[in-house]
Symmetry: C2
Subunit: 377 residues, 2 copies
């Protein structure tokens, strides 16, 4: 980026921080979602880690978080370096296209030449330098007019992620844009094996980089009502009547993900490219993944992972294997002779789940809701 | 008993309430042992239930509890109808022979003709009327001079109980004393099968009924030092210098169970008989047994047992089988897709144990002790 002048477009980072992370219940709650937690053995929350890894690419003044009303205060306090106006608060959840579209329209209003990147608040990145190299390459691709996405070189035939089908074999060595032919939904195990073998498929990390104008044009083409809504809101920002307009328009916006709303159609139109990345990325979507991601070399013998907060909370595992313990209540947690479990201990709720059933934790949340015990959600 | 005059010997009940129930950790603690807990789905603690089922046989004035210093206050409060002097407090744990021997000597001092029964504080009895019939028959046997024990008609080849070998096939239908040939330790599965098939073996329920004089004579014959100690203490009770004598003598008493110290030798001498009983008895020695005992007919489909305190504590079990949950923290406990587990949730400690490993919970307690975390024990 050093070689570019402001006329080339400065880089802005947008962090959509929504969603309550039902599959991480009871750690993640509607009032205390996963991105506010330090899940990965560091003292930073996932949100703070996301902001920190973007700092080499843009200063806090060009960093935005889009979040819900319930989490605005926590976001503002976790990221004190962000200007107040950069914490964009959605009146209600309208999925990622509305959130990202609003940020794009806001940024475009003050800087029409801006390059914007969107980065989920709850992902894990191990290698920050490789991340910066990859995003820098994506920024170059965006300057060239592509709607860029970041693809992750798959290390296993994962069935929990969506995939990007590339026009050619894609590896992370060259850092050059590769055209994306199609966005693929989460595959079956068999299909995932074929994807891995072909070398042409990357994990869709849900990170996007584009000129705000290029994105807004595609949004106007594919989702004109959404485009009209977010640009009207952005135009009114700071004006009298803004609150009323927001309250009136926001609830009418289509609830749709940016992948479905814009990126898939843009790929069909030949406008999407990717930088294949390799920076130790993971989407901590459930506790099973958490157990895989946090397994240390020393932990290989047992397969056990312990995430304790406070760190000194006593955890005693005897003859226990492949078990992930999230000890967040400060109580003593002990296990004897068990295996392949997820144990999540919080001050007011305990969950014990079979390792292979982590994706179904939502059903427990639904059951608790049906019992009228919403205070635990 | 109605037909007997006081000269025939009144019946006294003694409840040794010692031991911390390590195999029921973390529910049972050194400061809060299992006999003080309501474990069986009733509001009564095990101790209170023990006293209540003895009331048809003797009034509170003839009921004694022998307990440790740490539990004296709790025992006194749980059994407010007992006279103060009937809560006998051991200065330190010296196993059951010292506890029962002291009670016998105390009772004999004031009523040499007394019949005394000893009943553990932590057993479960489902059929109280059958219990009373059985003990009444044992009292008759004691009047005839036998050292009586109560044998339970076995319903399965249990390897967790000791057995009484009888001189003949013993059933609970006749309520007449059957001579006990030998006390048998916990058998192997194969031996237990043979015991069950023979019809001559009963579970040793650890309940004894005898004339105090007959017991004390056997104690003098087999354990003269113990006999001298407990009679000296009983003789000094209420006198100046009692406390000093107790402090001096008690720690010198042999630590031995009454089975080993007296009953086995008495059986060799042909002095022991049993009433075969059938009153829904169980020794809640571990959580696995608790899960078996408390399994209701409605629970048969899943095999799950929930013991919640308070009763309204929410427990959500989804696709969960053969799992026992003790929810004593008031928190929500949830499980998904697990089986054959024991989950014990208390305000400061959580245990998750494989169902078949319940007997080994002591090893967890040992580990916690070795970590210096005694506050959890």
């Amino acid at each position: 980026m050093a070689g570019h002048t402001p006329a080339d477009g400065a880089f802005y980072a947008v962090i959509p921080a929504g969603g309550s992370g039902t599959r991480l219940w009871p750690l993640s709650r509607s009032g205390n979602p996963k991105f506010l937690h330090a899940l990965t053995g560091t003292s930073d929350s996932l949100l703070q880690a996301t902001a920190a890894r973007l700092l080499p690419l843009c200063p806090p003044e060009r960093m935005y978080v889009v979040t819900g009303t319930a989490h605005a205060a926590a976001v503002a306090r976790q990221l004190p370096e962000l200007p107040d106006a950069n914490v964009l608060v959605e009146p209600s959840p309208r999925d990622s296209c509305a959130a990202i579209g609003l940020a794009a329209a806001m940024i475009a209003r003050s800087d029409p030449e801006a390059i914007m990147g969107s980065f989920a608040a709850d992902h894990l990145v191990r290698d920050r330098e490789a991340f910066v190299r990859t995003i820098s390459a994506a920024i170059e691709g965006a300057r060239d007019g592509w709607l860029m996405t970041v693809g992750i070189t798959p290390t296993r035939p994962d069935t929990g992620y969506g995939y990007l089908q590339c026009s050619q074999v894609a590896t992370a060595t060259k850092m050059e844009p590769v055209k994306v032919v199609e966005f693929k939904e989460k595959p079956t195990a068999e299909v995932a094996e074929a994807y891995l073998a072909s070398g042409k498929y990357l994990w869709n990390a849900g990170m996007f980089v584009w000129r705000v104008q290029a994105f807004l044009e595609e949004l106007r083409r594919q989702q004109p009502a959404l485009y009209d809504g977010v640009t009207a809101i952005a135009a009114a920002y700071g004006e009298p009547g803004y609150d009323d307009l927001l309250a009136e328009v926001w609830p009418t916006l289509t609830k749709i993900s940016v992948d479905h709303a814009v990126m898939e159609g843009a790929a069909d139109a030949g406008k999407v490219a990717t930088i294949p990345g390799d920076f130790g990325w993971a989407d901590i979507g459930d506790f099973d993944t958490l157990g895989e991601i946090l397994l240390t070399p020393e932990g290989q013998a047992t397969g056990n992972v312990v995430v304790a907060e406070p760190k000194e909370a006593p955890v005693v595992l005897m003859d226990t294997k492949r078990t992930t313990v999230v000890a967040h209540s400060g109580r003593l947690v002990s296990a004897l002779g068990v295996h392949d479990l997820i144990v999540v201990d919080t001050p007011d709720a305990l969950l014990i789940c079979a390792r292979g059933r982590a994706q179904e934790i939502k059903s427990v949340v639904d059951r608790i809701k049906s019992l009228g015990e919403d205070r635990y959600l």
